[in-house]
């Protein structure tokens, strides 16, 4: 059963490479994940760099996955994005210092 969310983003290091609005994550038996979503804004240079990380913010921090493959559909403006993600990275907690 997929996990669904609204706000997500793709980072290259500390750079924001893309903003996602509306996504679903499906976990496979081998621990990898499939990401489908709508890329509403992206940096044409940074989105083509590696390594990328998909980030799903939540109220206390962020869930993070490494991007293994990324397929940007053609065209201008918001577009569907399909990606395969590796095993989930350690959660980043930012809510409290």
């Amino acid at each position: 059963m997929p996990i669904r969310g609204v706000v997500g983003r793709i980072d290259w290091g500390y750079f924001a490479a893309g903003a996602i609005n509306g996504y679903s994550l499906t976990r496979y038996a081998d621990g990898t994940w499939a990401l489908r979503g709508t890329l509403v804004n992206f940096d044409a240079f940074k989105i083509r760099q590696r390594p990328l990380v998909f980030i799903a913010p939540h109220k206390d921090g962020e869930w993070r996955w490494p991007v293994k493959t990324l397929d940007l559909s053609e065209g201008h403006g918001p577009r569907e994005v399909h990606a395969t993600l590796g095993a989930q990275l350690p959660e980043m907690i930012t809510g409290a210092r």
């Binding site: 290259w12 290091g13 500390y14 750079f15 930012t94 210092r97």
Partner: protein, 157 residues
């Protein structure tokens, strides 16, 4: 082959007093540097853009700073929110942070200059040599003012 002409998102941790630290970008991209120069300068009535040294220090911190160990969360905040947070610092702590970021920038610039050595066996090309089809560049005369950091306040529009 030399280092990449593009900036990778690499970071450095700068230590402050009392065990505090800053996480900063190692280098700025051209776009980040341009934004930094815009924030640091004002257009005069004469149409010449001049660097404002007070704003320049703040802008440099905004350009480089990614995170810190202080209690206020700045990770991923907007430029405006970061500026507001920095404005809330004790003035002496602000100066300490500004000095740390300036020292980092100076050190990174020096390290890059050091790397610009010629590969053994290669003859460096004369950077002032014109290409066959290009007109000779206008070089500054020996009496021109030297290009030092003091020339930075005056940026052409």
């Amino acid at each position: 082959m030399g280092a990449s002409w593009f900036v990778r998102p690499e970071t450095s941790r700068l230590l402050l007093s009392e065990g505090q630290w800053l996480l900063v970008k190692q280098r700025l991209t051209a776009g980040e540097f341009r934004a930094h120069m815009k924030r640091s300068s004002r257009m005069g009535d004469d149409g010449v853009r001049r660097l404002d040294f007070i704003d320049h220090h703040l802008s440099r911190i905004v350009a480089y700073l990614l995170d810190w160990s202080l209690e206020a969360n700045i990770r991923g905040v907007s430029e405006q929110d970061l500026t507001a947070t920095l404005d809330g610092l004790d003035p002496q702590r602000y100066v300490e942070i500004s000095a740390a970021v300036e020292a980092h920038e100076t050190a990174m610039t020096a390290a890059r200059e050091e790397k610009k050595t010629t590969t053994p066996g290669e003859t460096p090309s004369d950077p002032t040599s014109p290409s066959p089809s290009a007109p000779a560049p206008d070089l500054p005369s020996p009496n021109s003012a030297p290009l030092t950091s003091m020339s930075m306040p005056s940026l052409s529009r």
